[in-house]
């Protein structure tokens, strides 16, 4: 019986090498990416040299190859939210950072995004957030897109919340906010409407300032 099993496995093993060859080729194309010089990055972003150094060290530690792909990105982000499922929101975040739309984030993309978020003007931050919410990048946020994002945020909470999540909480959550933002009631929120609505909201403005000194 062992012999029979042995012969079967020998046959299947022969089919593997062809697949391995393809993987090897892929490996070779995923070369290590090195970012541009420190001075250039310093010029392009609002970070100091030391801050860039600290950021790069952390970046390189997790992604030695110099680029983050979506899986790694999701994995990293999920570490911060052990209660729930952060993968959907991480997916949207990834798309927001991946300005070049090439499926991976280089250090430059990473640092530019962070520069906007942490050191940008309020307008910049709001624009960035708008692009985050605009999933299909068509320049408008419709209700479904906002619901998607809010649902992703609620997913991060996980199951064990107080009060328990009953009913379609994200949808109700969105209903309120969408009404507020969609000034001309045309079913979509444009960038201007978005910015205007946020600027009216005092608390939100204050919250935006909160993360200034994150670094």
């Amino acid at each position: 019986m062992g012999a029979v099993v042995g012969t079967l496995t020998m046959q299947t093993r022969q089919r593997q090498p062809s697949r391995d060859k393809i993987d090897d080729e892929l490996e070779m194309t995923m070369v290590c990416h090195r970012p541009e010089g420190l001075e250039q990055l310093e010029a392009q972003t609002n970070f100091t040299k030391q801050e860039l150094q600290v950021l790069y060290r952390g970046f390189k530690n997790e992604c030695p190859s110099g680029v983050v792909n979506e899986e790694t990105f999701k994995h990293i982000y999920a570490q911060f939210f052990p209660h729930g499922d952060a993968s959907t929101y991480a997916h949207y975040l990834f798309n927001a950072f991946d300005t070049g739309n090439n499926g991976s984030i280089k250090f430059e993309d990473f640092v530019m995004g962070l520069s906007t978020l942490l050191r940008g003007t309020v307008r910049d931050k709001l624009e960035w957030t708008f692009h985050l919410y605009d999933i299909n990048k068509d320049g408008f946020i419709n209700k479904e897109e906002m619901t998607e994002i809010v649902r992703a945020i609620y997913d991060m909470m996980g199951k064990y919340t107080y009060p328990a999540l009953k009913g379609d909480v994200p949808k109700q959550h969105v209903d309120t906010f969408f009404e507020k933002m969609d000034k001309n009631k045309d079913g979509v929120v444009t960038l201007e409407e978005f910015v205007l609505a946020c600027q009216e909201d005092e608390n939100m403005m204050k919250s935006m300032q909160l993360f200034e000194n994150v670094m």
Binding site: N61, I76, F80, L118, K159, H173
Partner: protein, 637 residues
């Protein structure tokens, strides 16, 4: 939170800006980095070898020696470095743990030395990563077993309080303990040999009597052999009875294989004694004498190898079964073929298929007696195929059995691997706890009211006081989670409390009758939130009038349990019941009983129960209209 991603915390916090536009509540204040040092290199001098690393790297694990303030004890002022008088080789792995988040166990390292180093630096061995964990556990197990063996050897000196029975049993099991036991051991061995030899010699033809027939010695010297047999059986019986007497568990002893062999060895003699010389039963009597040969198995008490062989065969039952099965299949096939091939030839010995079995077996095992040979050409062809395939079929399972034997032999020297499985489960449980530790750490700190101090208007003194208990990294992470709570207007709770809350919501479904007042304070409710610290959190209540009403109701309760409530307790004593609960903040209540307070104006349609604490002063605003989450309050007495 894994160390490696600690560097990404700023990114995660920055990404939280994405929640702001849809946040229900304002965000709490971020923990500030009070002593904002630039990240500096620190030097760790371990017995002369200098290691350098960033301070932040060490801060990743604040509950170890290097990550906490305990390392200050080792700080050398003159040389401005931390000096540890420990093994620098082991320190390498420990420092790599901080750098990469994975703890590895180097193979060349002695297990006890490594354990000591880990214990010194405050790292639990359970977090050794999977690549090295099995090796570590194996070595550890070997070591403990060796220690136990050493202990047992020392224990062989006679314990004073052993009863006679226990002494006897020990003598039987370990013949080396005393001279008497050794003597007994050799005497029984000798008599087993005598008995076996007697049985053999009995059948040898021994000289002939005048009537030209060689009779076996047994019939010639009947009395001599009978005396020999009797003596052996006496000894065996006495031995068996003594073992039975000394055994700690007689029932278990009687069921054991060795005792069954003993019984089988001596029984024929007694049966022979009992039976008369009746001709009818003498045939059966002769058969019984065959069982005397089982006395040879008594030798297995004297030989470890025999025992292992027996155990091997027992454990190779499946391989042996396969061998038997495949042989049977092949025998039947070839016997059939040979029978039909030889059917034609005259005076063929292959009279039937079962008769061909003998030929097939003899050929397949390459014995080839030659008493049955095929005569036709077809028969000869199939006969040769039969012998070739016989070699293959028999040769295949044999290596399996051999490897089984060697495996069991080695396994005999190491204790159960099954114990390792149990330890593995315990380890996984512990790792789950430490991973869940990050989530439970958050709940834990909520309970301690850490987050309460981080309100938008912030109170710095409490801030500083509470900051000492957690590292900056942790507090930033908790702040992030707190922001998420605020965004969604739901809180993290642990599983137990979730179940509880769920049950209680099922208990009461207040239909609302009151007209629902609209909440006009604006979406970001600013009313009455910050006026007093004694505001009671109206959890998710959407209307302020009920809010004030609640205030009245619950303020009564507040008095009950108010004495020891520091103002910064967490908002719900739900969290008090989290698993790692330290002292309950509210000393009076054990939070076991809850009382339902009906609020005459339940806010709106779908009300939902929420276990509420003795009123926590939550300075946050009474929440925004949060459709779909309405609350009926329950307070714990």
């Amino acid at each position: 939170m894994a160390a490696g991603v600690a560097a990404w915390l700023p990114f995660a916090r920055a990404a939280a800006i994405g929640w702001m536009p849809v946040a229900n509540l304002p965000m709490p204040v971020a923990p500030t980095n009070k002593n904002k040092r630039q990240d500096e290199l620190i030097i760790l001098n371990v017995s002369g070898r200098r290691f350098q690393t960033w301070r932040n790297t060490l801060d990743r694990y604040p509950d170890t020696l290097l990550g906490s303030s305990e390392k200050e004890f080792f700080f050398n002022e003159e040389t401005r470095e931390y000096f540890f008088d420990r093994d620098p080789d082991s320190f390498r792995s420990i420092l790599n743990f901080y750098r990469t988040g994975k703890l590895h166990y180097p193979r060349y390292e002695c297990i006890t030395a490594y354990d000591e180093e880990l214990a010194f630096f405050g790292i639990i061995p359970e977090i050794i990563s999977d690549c090295c964990y099995e090796e570590y556990k194996d070595r550890k197990r070997e070591n403990t077993e060796r220690l136990m063996d050493d202990l047992e050897d020392n224990k062989d000196s006679k314990l004073p309080n052993m009863t006679f029975r226990e002494t006897m049993w020990r003598a039987f099991e370990n013949p080396h303990t005393s001279t008497m036991a050794l003597v007994f051991y050799y005497v029984t061995g000798f008599f087993i040999a005598i008995s076996v030899i007697t049985n053999v010699v009995e059948t040898v033809p021994c000289g002939s009597t005048p009537n030209q027939r060689d009779i076996p010695c047994g019939e010639r010297y009947t009395e001599a052999f009978f005396c020999m047999d009797t003596a052996c059986v006496m000894i065996f019986t006495v031995e068996y009875l003594m073992r039975l007497f000394a055994a700690p568990s007689r029932y278990r002893f009687m069921r054991s294989v060795m005792s069954i062999i003993d019984v089988v060895a001596i029984l024929p003699y007694y049966i022979g004694l009992v039976m008369t010389n009746n001709e009818d039963v003498s045939g059966a009597f002769v058969t019984l004498r065959v069982f005397r040969v089982f006395r040879i198995f008594k030798f297995s008490r004297h030989s470890q190898g025999l025992r292992i062989l027996g155990y091997t065969l027992k454990s190779c039952a499946s391989e042996l079964g396969f061998l038997l099965f495949s042989l049977t299949m092949a025998i039947i096939i070839f016997a059939t073929v040979m029978f039909y091939a030889e059917k034609g030839s005259s005076s063929s010995k292959f009279t039937s298929i079962p008769a061909s079995f003998w030929y097939t077996i003899v050929t397949m095992t390459t014995l080839g007696y030659g008493d049955m040979v095929p005569k036709t050409i077809a028969g000869k062809i199939f006969g040769s195929i039969c012998s070739l395939s016989g070699v293959l079929v028999i040769a295949l399972p044999v290596p399996v059995i051999v490897s089984n034997f060697s495996r069991i032999y080695h396994q005999n020297q190491r204790a159960d691997k099954r114990r390792a499985q149990k330890v593995q489960k315990a380890r996984l449980a512990r790792m789950r706890i430490s991973k869940g530790g990050s989530s439970s750490a958050f709940l834990h700190s909520k309970r301690n009211g850490l987050n309460q101090s981080l309100e938008l208007t912030g109170s710095l003194e409490e801030d500083q006081q509470l900051k000492k208990t957690t590292s900056l990294l942790e507090s930033q992470h908790h702040h992030l989670l707190h922001c998420l709570e605020k965004t969604t207007n739901h809180e993290f709770v642990d599983e137990r409390l979730y179940e509880q809350g769920y049950l209680q919501t099922a208990l009461q479904n207040f239909p609302s009758q009151s007209p629902s007042l609209s909440s006009e304070e604006g979406i970001t409710g600013t009313c009455c939130s910050r006026r007093t610290k004694k505001n009671i959190q109206a959890l998710n209540a959407t209307h302020t009038h009920s809010h004030t009403h609640n205030l009245q109701e619950l303020s009564a309760l507040h008095i009950h349990c108010g004495e020891q409530q520091p103002l910064n307790t967490s908002r719900s004593s739900l969290n008090l019941m989290s698993d790692e609960s330290g002292s309950l903040n509210c000393k009076s209540s054990g939070l076991v009983t809850t009382a339902i307070i009906s609020i005459p104006t339940p806010p709106s349609n779908n009300s939902r129960g929420s276990p509420d604490a003795p009123p926590p002063p939550n300075p946050d605003a009474p929440p925004l209209p949060n459709p779909g989450s309405d609350v009926v309050k329950i307070s714990a007495l």
